[in-house]
Amino acid sequence: MIGFLARRLLSALPVLFVVSLVSFVIIAIVPGDVTAEIAGSDSTEAQRAEIRERLGLDRPMVEQAVRWYGRLLQGDLGQSYLLNKSVTEAVLERLPITLSLAAIALVLAVMLGVLLGILAAIKHDSWLDQGSMSIALFGLSIPDFWFALILISVFAVGLGWLPTGGYVPASESLIGWARSMTLPALALAITQMGVVARMTRSSMLEVMSQDYIRTARAKGMRRHTVIFKHALRNALVPIVTVVGVMTGVLLGGAVVIESVFSLPGVGRLIIGAIQRRDYPIIQGGLLITAATFVFVNILVDLAYGWLDPRVRDGR
């Protein structure tokens, strides 16, 4: 197990290198200038030049890159131009919001998806099957941010049950937090719910057609027992494999959902930083988000290796 972990961590290194390189290059191609934003719209060229010099923006690109990597190796992602704090601090204090949003959405997607999938599989070829799969397919096809707007229109504006946006920290009010996360998580979950539902259905159908299930039923085991004890357990294994991919999609989707619901997560931080030309935040935000994603994938691999020893020993 340790060897497997080490191998996985090692193989993440080149990925992280490419990630850091891309994060740097993106900034290099950005037009516009942070100095106008810092100094104000009516600042003079001299003032802006002074800020450029202070921030090292007047140096050649290669030198900026060397400095970026030099600091990166010491774990220093630099200082935000505008937030008055270090990038690491700024990103890490928002990461929990993004991660919890993605996590709730993941749980919702899996729960709802598995439910739809089971319904469809046990009532194979019935209207329930078709209905569930239509919902799943619809979930896959609608833009999640648009769905978010519809949810806001209905549940926040229309019915007034839930807030239209904004974030309440759990430390302040647990109920407030849950209320502020419900619609965003639902909007974010919809797409992946579709994915899970379809996967559950097809793997359930496959498992249920296999000999041992048929044997179990033939031996007089109750249908429910067969479905939930045997079929479902085996059908869920493939879902674990896509949790990594799903996490990625959810983290990416959270960027947009956060800005629809005004949640102060990493996504909104990055988008705000793009608008404000806060280069270090963009770089650091991209880097940390990608690194989180890589790390989650390693965890998923570990979990999978634990479930299925062939993965960890073989390959």
């Binding site: 106008a36 009516d42 003032q47 946006g165 005004s262």
Partner: protein, 523 residues
């Protein structure tokens, strides 16, 4: 209210302030204020900085003007009044400004404000202030007493005090030890009625009542940026909600109490809601269209004239402001001191396609692309650009929209190439008066890139003229000149809609949301 004649001229400030204190019969006591509570104010964007003097962003000003105070600021009637200064005494040659300070004023850190703090703050402004040109006439800043500073100007500048009182990037007073720090590196310590608690970007800025606030007893109530301020609320939260829809819904449910701005159609809908009070500020800003006079085709005055006569200002304004606008050709608000009357009216809101086409022909326009720079951050900018673009296409101009975000737009428009026209709302400049407005069109970096020599000369004359009558005459010439070379088009005047819960009392709309002298009425 004994506001009339309180501070007509800066020179009489000392006297007038005393008179006001005498005349002041309390108006504030008529209503029973309740202390306590948290007021949640919503604005659409993050303050780029809470270091008040380094930024001229309105998102910052909205908050910082409740935390910090300058020596002088504008009254409700746009006259400079003392805030942290006691008064000002101007020497006969107009070069020396002796400024006694109010005594016993405490900073949020508990220390008392001294002349050292004031000098250090002004020195910092000279170095880092976002509108440092306001201190350009100043030769030296000296401490001339434990509670007094004296500013010596290089030459007599009649408009100095008005410029110095400008709230754009206010010259606020902070403790000397903070003033030695670089931009955005200070602790946010001021003398205002509310003190800074925390800033969580993309979420909120929290302020709390400053219990030791030293109110300015020379006034009997708030007046513009100054006056006697009272903090009733325990805390104030400035929440950042970029989406107007979300902000409005939060107001409707009572999650928040005050919207710094809301869409006009929404305001109309909410007008019938008895839980919500709508505040209409009209006029609030100029919407302008600025040419790059260094780049073809905008370098040709005939071409610019063609655009001027082609524009259907009413359509642009109706769409850009969602119906909250007024049309006026003047470069100062109608009926205000410097209003130049009918000068230039014959060029305004013509929508004359034939004349525009003829002018384009005369200009030798040959379908060169005309790139309109605008941003998505301020909706009026983007919408106006789209409508202007369509109108110009209709007269045969090859208009293309370049919509970027606000910082990028600010950067692009500082370059001589890469843009031809730019939409800009001028909120604070027309409010501050002719000098503030015209200074953006002249000098080192005029909005339209190339200098118009006549306009530059008129601006110099304007700021050197010592009488209002004289300045009015100069300003009429300026307006005439603006309608002769067409470097910038005044599209129209926009309003601003604000809204608050009905239980929010004492709120008086102004250039920033004043959260002092505001209280929440308890049922």
């Amino acid at each position: 209210m004994a506001k009339t004649g309180r501070l007509g001229r800066a020179r009489h400030m000392c006297l007038a302030a005393a008179a006001a204190a005498f005349l002041g019969l309390s108006s504030a006591t008529a209503l029973a204020q309740t202390a306590g509570g948290d007021l949640v104010v919503v604005q659409s964007s993050n303050p780029p900085s809470l270091d008040a003097m380094v930024t001229s962003s309105q998102a910052s000003r909205n908050i910082t003007m409740n935390i910090y105070e300058p020596l002088f600021g504008f009254s409700e009637k746009i006259q400079p009044i003392p805030i942290l200064a006691e008064s000002v005494e101007i020497s006969a040659d107009g070069k020396s400004y002796r400024i006694p300070l109010r005594q016993g004023v405490k900073f949020h850190n508990g220390k008392e404000m001294t002349a050292e703090d004031v000098k250090a703050s002004l020195d910092r402004y000279v170095k880092h202030g976002a509108t440092q040109s306001m201190l350009k006439p100043v030769e030296k800043i000296e401490i001339t007493g434990p509670n007094e500073v004296t500013l010596t100007l290089k030459e007599a500048t009649p408009t100095f005090l008005e410029a110095f009182a400008s709230p754009r990037a206010p010259a606020v007073i902070i403790p000397a030890e903070e003033a030695s720090k670089g931009p955005n590196e200070i602790e946010f310590i001021g003398t205002g009625p509310y003190k800074f608690v925390e800033y969580v970007p993309d979420s909120h800025v929290k302020l709390a009542r400053f219990e030791d606030y030293s109110a300015n007893e020379a006034f009997e109530g708030i007046d513009g940026f100054g006056g006697k301020k009272t903090a009733y609320l325990d805390t104030v939260t400035f929440r950042v909600i970029p989406e107007p829809g979300a902000a409005v819904a939060a107001l409707e449910t009572g999650e928040v109490q005050l919207l710094e701005q809301l869409p006009v159609p929404t305001a109309r809908r909410l007008a019938s809601n008895e839980n919500i009070e709508i505040y209409e500020n009209m006029p609030w800003a100029f919407l302008t269209f600025i040419f790059n006079m260094k780049e073809a085709p905008g370098d040709n005055p005939k071409f610019r004239e063609a655009v001027q006569v082609a524009l259907n200002n009413e359509e642009v304004m109706a769409i850009a402001t969602e119906g909250l606008f007024q049309l006026y050709h003047g470069w100062m608000y109608e009926g205000s001191t410097y209003d130049a009357g009918d000068v230039g009216k014959e060029y305004y809101n013509l929508a004359d396609a034939d004349r525009a086409k003829a002018l384009l022909k005369e200009a030798g326009y040959n379908n060169e692309p005309f790139s309109i720079l605008t941003d998505s951050t301020i909706p009026e900018h983007g919408k106006a650009a789209v409508v202007i673009g369509e109108q110009l296409k209709a007269v045969g101009i090859n208009a293309v929209i370049n919509q970027v975000d606000w910082p990028t737009a600010l950067n692009i428009r500082l370059q001589d190439q890469g843009w031809n026209g730019w939409t800009l709302m001028m909120g604070i400049e027309p409010y501050l008066g002719p000098a503030a407005l015209i200074s953006t069109l002249t000098g080192e970096a005029p909005h339209f890139r190339a200098n118009d020599e006549q306009l530059d000369a008129l601006y110099k004359e304007l700021i050197a003229t010592d009488s209002v009558e004289g300045r009015k005459a100069v300003f009429a010439e300026i307006q005439k000149r603006l309608y002769a070379f067409f470097g910038v088009i005044k599209v129209g005047e926009t309003g601003l809609m604000q809204a608050a819960r009905a239980d929010v009392k004492g709120f008086k709309p102004f250039r920033f949301p004043r959260v002092y002298d505001v209280w929440i009425e308890k049922e």
